[in-house]
C-alpha cells in the first residue's frame, strides 16, 4: 500500500488563481521515512492536509493503495499530527476522553510516550504543548494506521523531549512498517531521521 500524490494543485478559496501547490507529486512507501523541507509559506502544511484528506486538491489525485483516499470510511489509514497540539484537542474535553474517542488506546503507548495517568483527567489548557503533543501522537497510533504525516510536530519542544518522541516514533514506525512524512525546518533532524529528503519547489 503506497500513498501517492499525483500532479496535485491546490489553492485556498479567496486567493483567486494563485496556487499554494502546483503540480506536486510525491510517493511514500511503507517503511519509508520521507523528509520534507521548504521555506515558510511553500505549502508544506497544505500538502500534509491534502495527503491526510483534510482538503481536496483542485486538480490531481491522492491515492492510497491505488484507490482514492476519499473512498476510505471510518478510521483514515493516513493520519496527520498537527503542528499546534493545543488546537487539535478539544478545550472542553478531558484528555482521557479525547484519547479514547476512537476506541481504547494501548497502555504500552501511554507508557512509551510518558503520559502520566494523572493527565488523563486534565483539560488541554492545563498541560504544556509538549505534553499535549504526546496525546495527539497516542490517539492516532491505532491498528489501522499505515501512514503518519508529522507536520513540525516537535518544533516547540526542548531537545530532550524531541529526542524521546522521535526515538519512540522511529521504533514504532519500524515495527509496524509505517510510512512517515516528516516536515521540518531542521535539516539535521531530517538527515538523522529520514531515508530520503524532498524539497518543495516554488
Amino acid at each position: 500500500m503506497t500513498l501517492e500524490a499525483k500532479q496535485v494543485s491546490f489553492g485556498y478559496a479567496g486567493q483567486g488563481q494563485e496556487r499554494v501547490l502546483r503540480q506536486v507529486s510525491l510517493t511514500i512507501r511503507p517503511g519509508e521515512r520521507v523528509g520534507l523541507s521548504a521555506p515558510s509559506g511553500r505549502g508544506k502544511t497544505t500538502l500534509c492536509k491534502l495527503l491526510a484528506g483534510y482538503e481536496r486538491p483542485d486538480s490531481g489525485q491522492i491515492h492510497l493503495g491505488g484507490k482514492p483516499l476519499a473512498s476510505f470510511r471510518g478510521f483514515c489509514p493516513v493520519q496527520m499530527i498537527w503542528q499546534h497540539p493545543e488546537t487539535a484537542l478539544d478545550p472542553l474535553l478531558r484528555l482521557g476522553e479525547t484519547l479514547r474517542e476512537a476506541g481504547p488506546v494501548e497502555q504500552r503507548l501511554l507508557d512509551a510516550l510518558h503520559i502520566s495517568p494523572a493527565w488523563l483527567s486534565r483539560y488541554p489548557g492545563e498541560l504544556s504543548g509538549g505534553e499535549l503533543q504526546r496525546f495527539c501522537i497516542a490517539r492516532v497510533l491505532r491498528p489501522g494506521l499505515r501512514f503518519l504525516l508529522c507536520d513540525e510536530i516537535t518544533a516547540m519542544l526542548d531537545l530532550i523531549t524531541q529526542a524521546q518522541i522521535w526515538r519512540f516514533l522511529m521504533e514504532e514506525a519500524d515495527r509496524r512498517r509505517l510510512g512517515l512524512l516528516i516536515v521540518s525546518h531542521n535539516r539535521q533532524l531530517l538527515k538523522a531521521l529520514c531515508t530520503r529528503v524532498e524539497q518543495l519547489e516554488k
Binding site: T87, A88, L92, E101, A102, C136
Partner: protein, 275 residues
C-alpha cells in the same frame, strides 16, 4: 478541609440557591392564585403595612399575593417561551451550518424575514393567529425570538466545523453524531445559556406589552405586565406601592435568573476548576 471549598463549589451552591428561590416564588404564586383574586372593598387602597406587606389595590386585593401570582405566571411563561425559542434557534442554526448551502439559504432567508418585521408587530400577529390568551402569548413570544440566536449559533457552528480538533475527530473515524454531541454541543452550551438568560426578561416584557395592548392575557389574570400597566393609572394619585413592589420583584427575579445562568456557565468552563 478548607481547600476543598473552591469557587466551583460556591458557584454550585449559589446556583442551587437561586433556583430554589425561583421555584419557591413559582410555587407560592400557584398556591396564592385564589387569594390574589379575592376582593375586599373595606381594605382598599391601603399602603404597605404588616398585614399587607405590599399594600392593597383599589379593589382591596392583596398586592403581595398578586405580585407573587404574577411573577409565578411570568416565570413559567418566560421559561417556556425562552426554552422553546432557544431550542428552535439551536436546531435551525445548526441545521443552517451543517446541511448544505440550500438549507442555509432557506433558513437565513427566514431569519432575515423575521428580523425585518418590527418585533412587537410580529408578536401581535402571531398571538392573534394562535387565538390570543395564554396560548397566543406563548406561541407569539417563542416563535418570534429565535432568529437572533439562530444567527449566532449558525456562525458559531461554521467556525467550530473548521476547528482542527473537530476535523481530527472525523478523521479518527468518530461518527458524525458523536462529533456533534461531543464537540459541538458543549461549545454551543455557552451561547445557548446566554441566549436563554437574555431571552427570559425579553419574553416577560413582551408578554407584558402585548397584554397591555390587548393582544395577550385577559385582564383578570394577575400577570406582572397587567399589574404594572393598571398601576400606572393610580401612580399620579400617590399609590406608589402599586408599581414599586411588583416592579422591584420583577427586576429581582430577572437578576436571579441572570445570576443562575452565570454560575451555570462558570461550572461548565474547565478553566474555572482552579479558581
Amino acid at each position: 478541609m478548607k481547600k476543598d471549598w473552591n469557587r466551583r463549589k460556591s458557584a454550585a451552591v449559589l446556583f442551587s440557591a437561586c433556583a430554589f428561590v425561583l421555584c419557591a416564588v413559582t410555587a407560592a404564586g400557584l398556591l396564592l392564585s385564589d387569594y390574589a383574586m379575592e376582593t375586599d372593598f373595606t381594605q382598599k387602597n391601603l399602603s404597605p403595612s404588616l398585614s399587607h406587606l405590599f399594600g392593597t389595590d383599589w379593589m382591596g386585593r392583596d398586592m403581595l399575593a398578586r405580585t407573587l401570582t404574577g411573577l409565578s405566571l411570568s416565570i413559567r411563561i418566560g421559561l417556556l417561551t425562552a426554552l422553546v425559542s432557544c431550542v428552535l434557534a439551536l436546531l435551525l442554526g445548526t441545521a443552517a451550518a451543517t446541511l448544505g448551502r440550500r438549507v442555509d439559504a432557506c433558513i437565513s432567508w427566514c431569519v432575515d424575514l423575521f428580523l425585518g418585521i418590527p418585533h412587537i408587530l410580529l408578536v401581535m400577529l402571531l398571538s392573534l393567529a394562535f387565538g390570543k390568551g395564554l396560548a397566543g402569548v406563548v406561541a407569539g413570544v417563542s416563535l418570534s425570538h429565535w432568529p437572533a440566536l439562530a444567527r449566532v449559533v449558525r456562525a458559531e457552528v461554521f467556525q467550530l466545523r473548521q476547528a482542527p480538533y473537530l476535523l481530527a475527530a472525523e478523521k479518527l473515524g468518530v461518527s458524525r453524531f458523536a462529533v456533534a454531541r461531543r464537540h459541538l454541543l458543549p461549545h454551543l452550551l455557552a451561547q445557548f445559556l446566554t441566549g436563554l438568560i437574555l431571552q427570559f426578561p425579553h419574553a416577560i416584557l413582551h408578554e407584558a406589552s402585548i397584554t397591555f395592548l390587548g393582544f395577550g392575557l385577559s385582564p383578570e389574570q394577575p400577570a406582572v405586565g397587567i399589574i404594572l400597566s393598571e398601576s400606572m393609572r393610580y401612580l399620579t394619585t400617590g399609590k406608589w406601592w402599586l408599581a414599586l413592589f411588583p416592579g422591584l420583584s420583577l427586576v429581582l427575579v430577572v437578576l436571579l435568573f441572570a445570576r443562575m445562568g452565570e454560575r451555570l456557565r462558570q461550572m461548565g468552563n474547565p478553566a474555572s476548576v482552579h479558581q
